[in-house]
Homo-oligomer: 366 residues x 2
């Protein structure tokens, strides 16, 4: 039995979307046990009349909802009775194997780091959301903002962790990994990316295909994009933003003339499919790779289908023992003298470059 | 008379697109003098039969075309007879006021830096392309990849230079400037962006409206996005890539069924307008701000209309004396003790943060 705890509050459509997603997950995944955290009275009322196997559901009472405006560290300290922190506590005490939450990202990342901790040899956990490609497949992006100030070995770990994630959860064998950069040539980019490239080129167990430019993201030629959290964040949000704005414009233009409305009427099915294809709700949440227990962060605006997908992601990660594999792979790299030496070399090179640049800068301009 | 030199080779559609763009520019801008660099025999042949004022055109013979595969510094040194380097030389010797080229970006940036030089007080020149917004306006993005390893004061200068550019060339009064970041709150982002935020907040003469997330780019609420060259590059290429991939998918889906083809037939005019709206050819090139002479880099795939727009951009920049204004604004900031002190403070803070982090990292992990 795989025990997943679902934080039932904190999303825009909580708790209804969470409950509906939970009920669907229970019917589709037969060895899933769900622990629901949140206001017990509300949860019980919402569950009344739904058709599900009650023996596989536990409710843990948590009267509060996490406050998104609060500083993450304050939220952890002061909001112990919130549905999110109660869920985190269940993970910490081994009463649950995995956690799904739609609540405040900052609080969740901080709680995961401070309360649950990292897997052995993991420097920093990282986010890995999934986007659909134009060829009908998917592409993973790691990291998209869990960490912003990093060194080249962070990116190396993202490649190892997310490759295993795509293999285990999506069945993509030996995913093609590309480094997000400003050009495809080996010597492109800033110090961080130049050193990361050298490290990725010699990392065992991954299929590194070189640098990529962001315009290739949806082409289907890449399975996994590794990026520093800052540009990874820009990449994902720009893709979402552009797609949404274009659809909005298209809709507005269609409504501007009767003839367009008639034309669009004939194409209704196609437009619906298009919309469904681009609906991020169908691709689940952003998993946090590298934490000691499985953590999945769903979009704040998740509806039932997205909640279900998030639970399924968490379930599969646990079922395929992803965390154990990540630990093994990173330990193997750390124990292999040649690779470990190279890791240290590239990180030191990066630091020296940064240092030299700062010194040169201060002579030149101050 | 404003003298613009046009590098007639190096683009995908050169020299035909360049010649046609030049002819249009000559007819629309009456006090423009164009110097065309490239193979004289070819250029003369292509110009035959075109209707233009020959007294405002000079041809400078340059038998070579810049080699995009060559390292930029080698290209400058070894390809002196190329149309690009000849054009750069004309700028250097004051025979021309401004330069338009569609050739290799790396070579052009290096040549601009090493042969033409920077304006007084400019740390590094930066690119500033323009994109259309969904409300029918435009948004500028500075920088998109001229520099990747930077300090907070680079970003401050981008804001000053590009604000003046939007005012002079596009008539946008007091443009709303936003800093590209991973969240809108003041404390978001890495060290670079945190310090840049503080600097921008106190920069005189610009209208800083705070951080922005990349999904707001096309909303029309922002006139100018300032970004480090790396994430700015990701921002622009992702926007272009997503729009193109979506249009491609739409087209493919339309051709999959007869009923869709009929529907699309009724909407043909709308789709054409949509395509035209998103066609980057209509928005000119990426100007390089901060060089001692005006330099405009057109897209390699520019057609005649894009070449014309590039020439127009260069012409307007020179006509409105943009470079003089940039120099005045940056000198004013440098001479104002309080702002200069703040600039140094934020840069030093950034360096110290980086240094501390590197030290902490090396204790923790090595």
């Amino acid at each position: 039995m795989i025990k997943v705890v679902l934080d039932c509050f904190g999303g825009d459509h909580s708790p209804d979307a969470n409950i509906d997603g939970a009920v669907r997950a229970l019917s589709e995944l037969t060895d899933l046990h769900l622990i629901l955290t949140g206001d017990e009275a509300i949860l019980k009322e919402k569950l009344t009349g739904k058709d599900f196997d009650a023996s596989r559901v536990t409710i843990v009472h948590a009267p509060d909802v996490i406050d998104t405006s609060m500083k993450p560290t304050d939220a952890i300290r002061l909001q112990k009775e919130s549905s999110m922190m109660k869920a985190v506590k269940l993970l910490r005490t081994d009463e649950a194997d995995a956690l799904v939450s739609l609540g405040a990202t900052g609080a969740l990342v901080s709680a995961a780091l401070l309360r649950i901790g990292r897997l052995k040899n993991v420097i920093r956990p990282a986010f890995c959301p999934i986007l659909p490609t134009m060829t009908g497949g998917i592409v993973g992006i790691c990291d998209t903002g869990a960490n912003v100030d990093i060194t080249p070995d962070h990116i190396q770990q993202y490649a190892v962790m997310a490759s295993l994630y795509l293999e285990c959860v999506y069945g993509i064998e030996s995913p093609r990994v590309a480094l997000l950069n400003v050009g495809v040539e080996e010597e492109k980019g800033d110090d961080l990316h130049k050193n990361a490239y050298q490290l990725l080129k010699n990392t065992p167990g991954i299929r590194f295909i070189g640098n990529m430019e962001s315009r290739e993201l949806l082409s289907g030629d890449i399975d996994l994009v590794v990026a520093d959290g800052f540009s990874g964040n820009v990449l994902v949000k720009t893709t979402e933003g552009t797609a949404l704005e274009l659809l909005k414009k298209l809709k507005k233009d269609i409504y501007s003339k009767t003839i367009y409305k008639i034309g669009a009427g004939l194409m209704k099915k196609m437009f619906m499919e298009e919309k469904e294809f681009m609906n991020y709700q169908n691709y689940g949440g952003s998993v946090l790779l590298g934490t000691a227990k499985v953590v999945v962060k769903g979009h704040g605006s998740s509806k039932a289908v997205a909640v279900y997908k998030c639970i399924e992601q968490a379930y599969r990660m646990e079922k395929t023992e992803l965390n154990g594999r990540i630990e093994d792979a990173l330990t193997a790299i750390a124990n292999e003298p040649w690779h470990e030496a190279q890791r240290k070399r590239e990180v030191m090179r990066f630091r020296r470059r940064i240092f030299r640049r700062r010194c040169a800068g201060s002579q030149m301009r101050d």
